[in-house]
């Protein structure tokens, strides 16, 4: 084989190697959950309407058995993501449809609205008014030992937000058992609350109820993976 042929072979192999690396990297990065932007289309100063679902099993994708949050895009389309761009210093009105069953809390402190703040007193967190509405009823504390217990929380420690989400009856015939998003005809609780975004920054939020079924302590799988029970609020100025 002559020198030119060897050069050809070398650069061909190099090209294949680079191509493989780029393909792998793009596929890998691209598998991260998408970000739903409420910043670009939002009239300045108007409240952001954030509509979420929590489901017992998302039913599709790489982990169909995992419990998950879903987000409704401004055009009404539901996506399995937990990452949002939200304008700074803006009120966010959250409507959360909770379709999963619940259980008593290991740590009853998490039943307090707005309690997941560092050093803040219960009820004085980042949830406006320190109250959430559960099916239209304002509550400050959700008792994990009554009703169907608590399924999940929506907690943003840096913003002092903790919202316990009461569960539904998992044995009901109307319990959502189809792939997400669950239809409104399925059994669910509607939880609403509001908070105000601070100046720009990235804030991690997380469900604090260990709900990774069949993982040690319930903290693996969906609890440890952005796009399921954890995500980021990217506050943009």
């Amino acid at each position: 084989m002559g020198r030119t042929a060897r050069l050809g072979v070398f650069f061909s192999l190099l090209g294949i190697a680079i191509g493989l690396c780029v393909f792998t990297a793009m596929a890998w990065i691209g598998s991260a959950p998408p970000t739903v932007s409420f910043a670009s289309s939002q009239p300045k100063g108007a409240p952001v309407q954030l509509h979420l679902q929590t489901v017992g099993a998302i039913g599709t994708g790489a982990h169909p058995d995992w419990v998950s949050y879903l987000t409704q895009e401004p055009d009404g389309h539901w996506v399995g993501t937990t990452e949002w761009d939200i304008p700074a210093s803006t009120v966010v009105d959250v409507t959360l449809d909770e379709y999963d069953s619940g259980s008593p809390l290991r740590n009853e402190y998490l039943g307090l609205v707005g309690a997941a703040t560092v050093g803040g007193a219960p009820g004085e967190g980042g949830v406006i008014g320190g109250l959430e509405n559960v099916n239209g009823k304002a509550v400050r504390v959700v008792d994990g030992y009554s009703g169907n217990g608590i399924a999940h929380t929506f907690s943003v420690p840096d913003l002092g937000i903790n919202v316990p989400l009461p569960g539904v009856d998992g044995s009901s015939s109307k319990f959502c058992s189809e792939p997400a998003p669950c239809p409104t005809s399925a059994l669910h609780n509607v939880i609403t609350f509001s908070f105000k975004t601070p100046a720009s920054g990235v804030y991690r939020w997380q469900c604090f109820i260990p709900c990774g079924l069949s993982y040690l302590y319930g903290n693996g799988g969906p609890m440890a993976t952005a796009g399921y029970m954890a995500g980021f609020i990217k506050v943009v100025s």
């Binding site: 020198r3 890998w28 982990h63 079924l213 993982y215 993976t225």
Partner: protein, 665 residues
């Protein structure tokens, strides 16, 4: 000394096959034999079979129903995939033939290039296979490092995200650590050991090939971690995070177990070779310092690595059979993993450090034309480091909630180990003292090792102190410290070794200008990459976190850009490597550096059996500067005449009657 000469037809191949085995040696097309292609087919077939069995066993387990993660299927896929890989390369042929009472097929000496893709018994081919293998590891880990530095360009805007970032860090750390354990033992240890001690072969050539192909099997297993969801633990794999992590954790545990198997076998083989296969006259006070370093390293491989393999097996059992070795609530202990892991992990640091010092110890006398200063002190230092390294592991747990009373003890042992390390360092400094240095490329890498390791070593002394350690634990300071020792030490030594011995290994000279360019870019930008990380670590930036304080962005950006340039220096090496070896090869002089080392006394290319006759060693290899030094060895034949030794039919060997002789044909 009674010397008996036997004729060739009594001689087996390096695998000690009896004559009838040799007679059955196949001489057919290399592509109709076992090779890397058939190994890949075997791996895929094994993977599928393992997965199928795993689904049969655990597919309807309630845990699998709940979370969709069948760890049994993943582990069996990886295990069977490895077995299939080894079957496909022909690794089981010999033991299986023996088990069923058939005489195995032997191996004929071959100069066909396909031998580099096969399970071969020639230690020189295995050594070169290892060179490519460790470079594969190194460049994979390096690309992952580029991803890490890219994410850290900005504290707010993210490219990869937190989950992906920790997976990237974990994969990078594990790949690099796996690579670093074998980066010298594999390529240079296997290639050089028989030549340096006057042996015609390794003690167990099949085990040598087994260790290499197992090493590559481990590489493929650890790469499967990414499609299985990665693992969020860093390279240390701490429980209980390990127990609750996604499927990528299975790849981590299986990969380390497989790599560990390769490390143990490689260690045993080199130790057995050095102990039993030395040429007459190759006394313990004459063996090269690199051989001492390899011998002390193999003691760590043999005694520390089994602990890792078993610890990994416990982890696999916790994740598949739901045992509770590392689950506190069920009677196990997450500390157990930490202890077992670091009982291997800290000796591993010296598995990585000692061979580097051995390499530069070979180079310094050559390029200063002075004897190696305090040779025996250096050898003693290496043994001392190896011994003490088993007594320091808990300094990794200072901040983990261990009994505080244990801290002073392990602080003391950790500080003690700096004494034999200092011995080794002083051997280098003593050799350099008042010498006229030839600044050839290998020597530049050797000097760089001393510079880098000084920074890594001194920061290590600080870290051994409990008050400092608890302050900077888990920060970039620790990260920069161990990069200074491992990359600044071992990787620089590896490249120095490659530039130094490549002319011997291939008969081709690497381009000097490109080599110097590679060195200077690598040296400058290695320091530009990692020195700022010492500072950001002291300022509080934590490891394994994708975000950091805004005021640290400048230093992080400086480090990231430097890392890109550092990475590009390896492209220069690759180009030089390919250009000078394959595209435009330039024949190397017989002994380009003027070394007295025994390996340089053989013809180039080195014959299949290394030496036409077993040499008789007459003096140590470091007697530079003497007006009329004795020859290193009596080779029995004029150099060059040994070319005929490549003809298998012309082979002769010396058998030694005394116990402990070097060859048992």
């Amino acid at each position: 000394m009674a010397i008996r000469t036997t004729a060739t037809h009594d001689l087996g191949t390096p695998g000690e096959l009896p004559p009838e085995g040799v007679a059955r040696a196949r001489n057919r097309s290399p592509w109709l034999d076992f090779h890397v292609g058939t190994a890949l087919v075997g791996a895929v077939a094994g993977f599928v079979i393992g997965h199928y069995i795993g689904v049969l066993i655990a597919g309807h387990d309630i845990n699998v129903d709940n979370n969709g993660q069948n760890n049994v299927a993943i582990c069996l896929s990886l295990g069977f995939g490895y077995l299939g890989w080894m079957a496909g390369i022909g690794g089981w042929n010999y033991p299986l033939a023996k088990m069923i009472g058939r005489e195995p097929v032997g191996e004929l000496p071959s100069s066909h290039w396909s031998r580099y893709f096969k399970y071969t018994l020639d230690h020189k081919v295995v050594g070169l296979q290892y060179v490519i293998g460790v470079l594969l590891f190194l460049f994979t880990g390096g690309l992952l490092a580029m991803g890490i530095r890219t994410e850290l360009l900005n504290p707010v805007h993210h490219i990869i995200g937190p989950d992906r970032y920790i997976e990237l860090v974990s994969e990078h750390g594990t790949v690099m650590m796996m690579m670093a354990t074998s980066i010298v033992i594999g390529p240079l240890g296997n290639w050089l050991t028989p030549l340096m001690i006057g042996s015609r072969r390794m003690a167990f050539p099949r085990i040598e090939a087994f260790s290499f192909w197992t090493f590559i099997g481990g590489y493929m297993i650890i790469l499967t971690a990414m499609p299985f969801g990665g693992f969020p633990t860093g390279w240390t794999g701490y429980a209980p995070l390990q127990t609750q992590a996604s499927g990528g954790m299975d790849s981590y545990l299986c990969g380390f177990a497989v790599i560990g198997l390769g490390m143990i076998t490689a260690g045993f083989n080199i130790a057995a070779t050095v102990i039993h296969y030395r040429a007459p006259g190759m006394t313990w006070s004459r063996i090269p310092i690199l051989t001492w370093s390899l011998l002390s390293t193999t003691s760590l491989l043999m005694f520390a690595t089994p602990v890792l393999v078993m610890a990994g097996l416990f982890g696999i059992l916790d994740r598949t059979a739901l045992t509770a070795f590392y689950v506190n609530e069920h009677g196990g202990s997450s500390f157990l993993w930490e202890d077992l892991f670091w009982f291997f992990g800290h000796p591993e640091v010296y598995i990585m450090a000692l061979p580097g010092f051995g390499i530069v110890g070979e180079m310094l006398p050559v390029f200063t034309r002075k004897p190696l200063f305090a040779y025996r002190v250096g050898a003693a230092g290496m043994i001392g480091v190896a011994l003490l390294s088993f007594f320091v592991w808990q300094h990794h747990l200072f901040d983990s909630g261990i009994n505080p009373d244990m801290r002073p003890l392990f602080m003391l042992t950790t500080e003690l180990i700096s004494i034999p390390t200092g011995f080794i360092y002083l051997v280098g400094m003593g050799t350099l003292w008042r010498s006229k240095i030839r600044f050839e490329v290998p020597m530049l890498f050797a000097l760089a090792l001393y510079f880098n390791f000084l920074i890594g070593g001194i920061t290590g002394v600080y870290l051994s102190d409990v008050p400092v350690d608890v302050t900077v634990h888990g920060s970039f300071f620790v990260l920069a410290h161990f990069h200074y020792t491992i990359m600044g030490g071992l990787v620089f030594a590896f490249f120095g070794g490659i530039y130094y011995w490549w002319p011997k290994m291939t008969g081709k000279m690497l381009n000097k200008t490109l080599a110097k360019l590679h060195f200077w870019i690598m040296f400058i930008f290695f320091n530009f990459t990692f020195f700022p990380l010492l500072i950001v670590g002291l300022l509080g930036q934590p490891r394994r976190v994708f975000e950091y304080a805004h005021n640290l962005q400048g230093l992080n950006d400086f480090s990231s850009v430097s890392a890109y340039i550092l990475g590009s220096s390896f492209l220069i090496f690759v180009w030089n490597f390919v250009w000078s070896t394959w595209i435009n090869p330039v024949p190397a002089p017989a002994n380009p550096w003027g070394s007295r080392g025994l390996e340089w006394q053989t013809p180039t290319p080195v014959p299949y059996w290394n030496f036409e006759r077993i040499p008789v060693i007459l003096s140590d290899p470091y007697r530079y500067g003497e007006p009329d030094p004795p020859p290193v060895a009596d080779l029995g034949v004029p150099i060059g005449a040994a070319a005929a030794a490549q003809s298998f039919a012309a082979e002769v060997q010396l058998g030694l009657d005394e116990p402990g002789g070097s060859f048992r044909g």
